[in-house]
Each structure stands twice: as structure tokens, then as C-alpha cells.
């Protein structure tokens, strides 16, 4: 198959070869069910324990605080619905730029008597801390969820003061750190959060594993009931190979973070300098952002069209978050930032993998310029 230059690392990342090597024995001879009481089972259990340790260390948590899930979406659902089920219905506050797998569970629990309020971002995409704290002091939400870094703009939220205010007000604070891990330091205890969502396939691990890290004092019921795995919080035979891969990926993500992010930042700077020269507007450019993400638009150019043309030219980029890239609605994140819907429809996301090549960035810039020129020409002819 023809391999495009990959600039969609926030959707999913290629699997690290070292992670694959670690996984393969578990797709082969080490296939046991971790609940079995024989050698095959014990081998599987030991491998899961190691991975639990690796992921916990990567985010400064204790291994017993980790619940392995099938991925980030499940972990977010587990916390939001679980917290709603275990607390008296009241106010739930979520960031206005949350991923659908936080936003939709929150909307879902409204039918059980919860009132959901949104914490709005500034024009640069970061949740406004003062406004969030004021709302928390006033409304005393029992559950608050604000993502650590946004999947579309890459904007990093200053969640520590929001988490502290939530704690002060007696609420539980959760953060979706799926996009943050490996691209910035993530410290479960340092951030003062009650719960945190992680995903393997955003950090060069396999799709199919994720985790909810949760303070032991937070008590939520399982989303998936059954065999009692994961301290009763997540039933089902553990996805052994994927969990092993997740562990190794998490370890590498932290060990290699400084080199990876330096490379990404340098490439992103080159890219955004080039973008400026061809007249793109970068969303959240002034914000503290993940080093690999650029979300941008050109006036009067449709994002879907641009993305399709780039695909034909051999570049994999996104027009929004992958999950919602089938619908033509403009990005909610951009609308929440106050971006005019017309411009928002032009949005394109470039998210660099950790091994991004400057050469590919140059090629992407050239292809972008050429495509934008063509589209502008067509638009001019049409007028």
C-alpha cells in the first residue's frame, strides 16, 4: 500500500516497533487468561501487573489506582456515568471543548436529574480559569471534568487551580489526559485531580487499551459488570497483549518525551511559519499548546476540500477530530472559542508524530500552498 506522510497523530499513532516486540509473545505462546490459576494464567497476571506499574509510574500514580479499560472513551464514560450514579444528582461542570466521550455521557446523565454547565474557553481555546473557579465556588458542582489538552487545537488547560477549587467545594475533578500524555509532563498527584483518563493508541501503543486512574477515595460503580476483574470496576477478560503494549508505550513516552517534543516543536514552528506566509490563521496560536498540533484555516476555503486534496497528494491530515470528521458541522471547539462558523468550516488539523521529518513538513507546506492557490483561483473564477 502507498504510505502517505502522516500528520494525524492526534487521531491515532503508529505502533512503536519496540511496543510491537513486547506484545507479540502475548499473541503467541503467552496467551493465558489472567484469571486462570495455572502457569499460563500467572504469566498473564504478571504481565498485566508490570504494565500497571509502567503506566502508573508514567503519570505519578500508584498502580492500585489504575483501572484498565478498552480505551479512552470507555474510561471517560466509566468516570462520568459512575460519578453521576454514585453522587446525589446536582450540578456537573464540563469544559466546553471536551471530547464527545465526555460531553455525551454528561448530557446523558441529565435524564437522571443532573444539570450540566459548561466551562467556557477564551478566544485562544484554554478554559478560562477565573470564570471556572467562580462558577465552581457558586454552583458547587459535584463532578467537574476538564481535559488537560485539547485534541483539536492542542490548547493546554491550567487545570490545577480548577481541580483545587472543585476539591474545596466537595466535588470530584476528572481530567481527560489522553492527548497530553507523552507530549507534556502529566502528574496525577501534582495536578490534584481525583481521576484521569489515559489512552494507549495516542502514545504509539496499540488501539484497544486505556485506563482510568482514580483516587481510592472516589467510589464509582462499574460500567461493565461481570467477572470482577480490575477490583470490580471493569469486568471482562483483560486485553493482555494490548495492556502489555500500553505499559511499554507509556514507559517510552515518558523516557523519550523531551527529545520527541523538541523535535515536534521544531517541526511545528517551521510549519506554522510557513503557514503564516501563505495566509493561514492558526487557532489558539497564542495559547500554551501541545508541541505537535496546528489547527488552522484559510478564509473562503473549505476544510474538507483541502483535506481531500492533501490526501490525494499523499498527506494524511484531519479536518477535525476523527470521530466527528464524518459530519460537516463546524468544530464545537472553535465555535466555543468564538470563531465565526464560516472560518471554522475551513479548519484543518495537522498533528505531528514524534518522528516527524522536516523534509515532510516542507513537502506538506508546498502542497498546501499549491492547493490553496488552486482553490483560490477556482473561487476567483467562480465569482
Amino acid at each position: 500500500m502507498f504510505a502517505p506522510a502522516y500528520f494525524d497523530a492526534n487521531a491515532t499513532t503508529p505502533l512503536d516497533a519496540r511496543v510491537l516486540d513486547a506484545m507479540l509473545p502475548y499473541l503467541g505462546a503467552r496467551f493465558g487468561n489472567a484469571s486462570s490459576r495455572h502457569e499460563y494464567g500467572r504469566q498473564a497476571r504478571a504481565a498485566i501487573d508490570t504494565a500497571r506499574q509502567q503506566v502508573a509510574v508514567a503519570v505519578g500514580a500508584h498502580p492500585t489506582e489504575l483501572v484498565f479499560t478498552s480505551g479512552g472513551s470507555e474510561a471517560n464514560n466509566l468516570f462520568i456515568k459512575g460519578a453521576a450514579a454514585s453522587r446525589k444528582p446536582g450540578v456537573m461542570a464540563i469544559g466546553a471543548t471536551e471530547h464527545p466521550c465526555v460531553r455525551l455521557p454528561a448530557l446523558h446523565v441529565q435524564q437522571h436529574g443532573w444539570r450540566v454547565v459548561q466551562l467556557m474557553p477564551d478566544a485562544d481555546g484554554q478554559v478560562n480559569v477565573d470564570a471556572a473557579v467562580a462558577l465552581i465556588v457558586q454552583d458547587r458542582p459535584a463532578v467537574v471534568s476538564v481535559m488537560l489538552a485539547n485534541n483539536e487545537t492542542g490548547a493546554i488547560n491550567d487545570i490545577a487551580p480548577i481541580a483545587a477549587a472543585t476539591r474545596q467545594a466537595g466535588g470530584w475533578f476528572h481530567t481527560d489526559a489522553v492527548q497530553a500524555l507523552g507530549k507534556m509532563p502529566v502528574d496525577f498527584r501534582g495536578l490534584g485531580v481525583h481521576a484521569m483518563t489515559l489512552s494507549s493508541h495516542k502514545i504509539y501503543g496499540p488501539i484497544g487499551a486505556g485506563a482510568l486512574v482514580m483516587d481510592k477515595r472516589v467510589d464509582v460503580p462499574a460500567l461493565i459488570a461481570g467477572g470482577g476483574q480490575e477490583r470490580g470496576l471493569r469486568a471482562g477478560t483483560e486485553n493482555l497483549a494490548a495492556i502489555v503494549g500500553f505499559g511499554v508505550a507509556a514507559e517510552l513516552a515518558v523516557a523519550e518525551m523531551s527529545e520527541r517534543t523538541a523535535r515536534q516543536r521544531a517541526a511545528r514552528d517551521v510549519f506554522e511559519n510557513g503557514l503564516g506566509a501563505i495566509g493561514a490563521q492558526v487557532f489558539g496560536a497564542a495559547a500554551d499548546r501541545l508541541p505537535n498540533t496546528s489547527f488552522f484555516a484559510f478564509e473562503h476555503i473549505d476544510g474538507e476540500t483541502l483535506v481531500a486534496k492533501l490526501d490525494r497528494a499523499g498527506f494524511a491530515v484531519a479536518s477535525g477530530s476523527a470521530c466527528s470528521s464524518a459530519d460537516a458541522e463546524p468544530s464545537r471547539t472553535l465555535l466555543a472559542m468564538g470563531v465565526e462558523p464560516g472560518l471554522a468550516r475551513g479548519a484543518v488539523r495537522v498533528s505531528m508524530p514524534h518522528d516527524v521529518e522536516l523534509n515532510d513538513v516542507d513537502r506538506l507546506l508546498r502542497a498546501l500552498k499549491q492547493t490553496v492557490d488552486e482553490l483560490k483561483h477556482l473561487a476567483a473564477v467562480a465569482i
Binding site: T12, P14, R37, P100, C101, G226, G228, T237, F315
Partner: protein
């Protein structure tokens, strides 16, 4: 010679078939796209692989690919089916029915629904592990909305009469869910014929990878569910979360192979099971748990009387077998499935589940028979109860004195 310990625990999990692993690996390396990415060829290639796999799963059970929803495994499928249907149809009634010998994934889900206001009936089974259809009919009420009965029991391998139960449920307008995690590749499943509305599948019981399963959701007549996982709207909104392409491809290939090889494999495995059964039957006081006729050929669950359960497991360390199901084997409680058949605690405790599979060899069965003869003999030599039994004492009549 065989690799030790000899693996006879195929109902706990199966190795990934090497052909399946081969098929998965490209999707772990160069074809790593997110199937939800609609904007580039890597995403499309992943989506194409996902749809190919959906066709394979549908083909094994004679369903329409559009009726197959990917999940993380049979446990999630059971949760989605039972909670999803019970909640969706709650306005019609809140009575739900299952069987005492179901997997924990079903039983725990029922308990959860009881806690939120549903009323559940747990049906007894007969001594052979099979459900008496009259018992089911008697339990159905006007407000019954859901019946859940597994196709093949994970501990004793008995096959329930899904066709007849389906007729009963359909006639009453009741949603019928079947956990078929242990059935795929072992018994013929024809969803054009069976009046089943929802059916759970697992890959890792059928030589596919762990972490992937599916739920069949009938379209005609249409069955509706309340989603249990919300988010990006994957799987027609019924199950959000990035699809694990490599795992899905693994399940597709595993089910493709199952369809192709089921007939010949069942014959071979049936012969091995019969050999194992014959080899164990010439010992005294050995009881087969569960009906032998209505049973998958892979399973033999046997209780060895006058042998203490834990020492039995310790004595057969050369075998990877299970006593009770893997999920509950960490507890010392006797198997609730065997208790439901009316076995006493001692017999339930001293049971071994042998499950034979694709890679089991005849030498392994011979070794197993030989080992059990030696070990059971030795354990019984040490047992005063066995000695009393040999002397003709009926232990049920003995008055035990406390010291």
C-alpha cells in the same frame, strides 16, 4: 513431546491461531489508521478491514453484517444487550429472566438491574444442566421484557435448546438474548432460523485475540438498545470508542477459519474427548457433570469423589485445567454452576474442567489419562473417607463427632 503444562483450558481462553496473528500484524504496523478518519487513505484502509471482518462474523452465524456491533468482548456485549434492552423497553415492563448457570457477565448485570428497580427471576436447571422449557414458560409474566439464556455453558459445555426458547419468547413478544461466547466454532448457529434478538460473541474463545467481541442486534423485527458507551458515535451510536482495527481483523479471520473448519475440527476434538472420557471412566466414583448428549465435544467436566479439591489441583500441576470457571477460580467457593446441578459441595470442589481445542494432541490426552490415574489413586490412598467407602461404609449415614 508436549509442552508443559499441557493446556486443557480452551474455554478460559484460546491461543491466537498463527494464521490470525499473521493477518493482524499488518494492521499493527504499516496500516495503523483510525477507521473513523474519513479524510485519508490510512483511515479508509482500516475501515475496509473492519467491514471485511464484520462480514466474516456475520457469515459464521448467518446474519447481516449490519446486525453486528463491535465491542471490547463478550462481557461488554452481555452488558450492552441486557442493560441496553432492559432500559430501552422499561416502559413495557421491568421483569427479566435468566438462568442460575449463566456466566457472571450476565448474572452480575442482572443484579445491577435489580438494584435500579428491575425484578429478576433466576431459573433453576435440571440435574443435567439443561433448562426445562416448562419452567421458563411458567416464569414468564405479562411484564417480562427480556430473557437471557446462554447457548453453551462455559463450565459444563451443555447446549441449551435456543431454538425452542426463541419460539417461546417471540410468541410472547419478549426480547431474547443469548450469550454465545462459548458456542462460536463449536455449534452451528443460524440466526435466520433461531428467533434470537441479541447474541454476544467473543474472539478469544475462538482463536482470536482478547479485547474484541461483538453483539448481534436483530434488524427484522427491529430490536432497540440504549447505548452504554457514549462518545464519537461509532457503531451507529450503539458503541463509541476508536475501533481496534488489528483486533477486529483478528476476530474476522478467526471466525472465517471457524466457519471453514468447524465440522472437521469438532470431529477430531470429539474423538479426543471420548478418549479422555473413556480413560477416566474406568476409575471408580468419577462423575461427569452435565448432559453428555446436548454438549459441545470440547468439554469434559468431571468430579472425582473422595478427593479433596485443592489437593487435586495441586496434584495435577502438569495440566493447565480449571476447577470452576476461570473468572471465579480465585475464590474457594465451590462452582455455582455445579451447585445448581445439585452437586454437593464436596463433588463440586473436586471437579476438573477439561476443555480441548485446536492444538490438543492425542499424546496429551494419553498423558492426562495416565497422570490422573496415578494421582487420583495416590490421593485416595491418603483419604480415610475413601478407605471407609472401600469398606462399604455409607458416608451419608456417618454421625461425625466434633472434637
Amino acid at each position: 513431546m508436549s509442552k508443559f503444562p499441557i493446556y486443557l483450558d480452551y474455554s478460559a481462553t484460546t491461543p491466537v491461531d498463527p494464521r490470525v496473528a499473521q493477518k493482524m500484524i499488518p494492521y499493527l504496523t504499516e496500516m495503523y489508521g483510525n477507521p473513523a478518519s474519513r479524510s485519508h487513505s490510512l483511515g479508509w484502509a482500516a475501515e475496509e478491514a473492519v467491514e471485511w471482518s464484520r462480514e466474516q462474523v456475520a457469515a459464521l452465524v448467518n446474519a447481516d453484517p449490519k446486525e453486528i456491533i463491535w465491542t471490547s468482548g463478550a462481557t461488554e456485549s452481555d452488558n450492552l444487550a441486557i442493560k441496553g434492552a432492559a432500559n430501552f423497553y422499561a416502559s413495557k415492563g421491568k421483569h427479566i429472566i435468566t438462568v442460575k448457570t449463566e456466566h457472571k457477565a450476565v448474572l452480575d448485570t442482572f443484579r445491577e438491574l435489580e438494584r435500579v428497580g428491575f425484578e429478576a427471576t433466576y431459573l433453576d436447571v435440571q440435574e443435567n444442566g439443561l433448562l426445562d422449557l416448562e419452567v421458563l414458560k411458567a416464569a414468564i409474566r405479562p411484564d417480562t421484557t427480556l430473557v437471557s439464556v446462554m447457548m453453551v455453558n462455559n463450565e459444563i459445555g451443555v447446549v441449551q435448546d435456543i431454538e425452542a426458547i426463541g419460539e417461546i419468547c417471540r410468541a410472547k413478544g419478549i426480547i431474547f438474548h443469548v450469550d454465545a461466547a462459548q458456542a462460536t466454532g463449536k455449534v452451528e448457529i443460524d440466526l435466520q432460523k433461531l428467533k434470537v434478538d441479541l447474541m454476544s460473541f467473543s474472539a478469544h474463545k475462538t482463536y482470536g485475540p482478547k479485547g474484541i467481541g461483538a453483539l448481534y442486534v436483530r434488524r427484522k423485527p427491529r430490536v432497540r438498545l440504549e447505548a452504554q458507551m457514549h462518545g464519537g458515535g461509532h457503531e451507529r451510536g450503539l458503541r463509541s470508542g476508536t475501533l481496534a482495527t488489528h483486533q477486529i481483523v483478528g476476530m474476522g479471520e478467526a471466525f472465517r477459519i471457524a466457519k471453514e473448519e468447524m465440522a472437521s475440527e469438532n470431529e477430531r476434538i470429539g474423538k479426543l474427548r471420548d478418549k479422555l472420557l473413556a480413560g477416566l471412566s474406568d476409575m471408580d466414583e468419577v462423575y461427569v457433570n452435565g448432559d453428555l448428549q446436548h454438549r459441545v465435544p470440547h468439554n469434559l467436566n468431571v468430579s472425582f469423589n473422595f478427593v479433596e479439591g485443592e489437593s487435586l489441583i495441586m496434584a495435577v500441576k502438569e495440566l493447565a485445567v480449571s476447577s470452576g470457571s476461570a473468572c471465579t477460580s480465585a475464590s474457594l467457593e465451590p462452582s455455582y454452576v455445579l451447585r445448581a446441578l445439585g452437586r454437593n459441595d464436596e463433588l463440586a470442589h473436586s471437579s476438573i474442567r477439561f476443555t480441548i481445542g485446536r492444538f490438543t494432541t492425542e499424546e496429551e490426552i494419553d498423558y492426562t489419562v495416565d497422570l490422573l490415574h496415578k494421582k487420583i489413586g495416590k490421593l485416595r490412598e491418603l483419604s480415610p473417607l475413601w478407605e471407609m467407602h472401600q469398606d462399604g461404609v455409607d458416608l451419608n449415614t456417618v454421625q461425625w463427632a466434633a472434637h
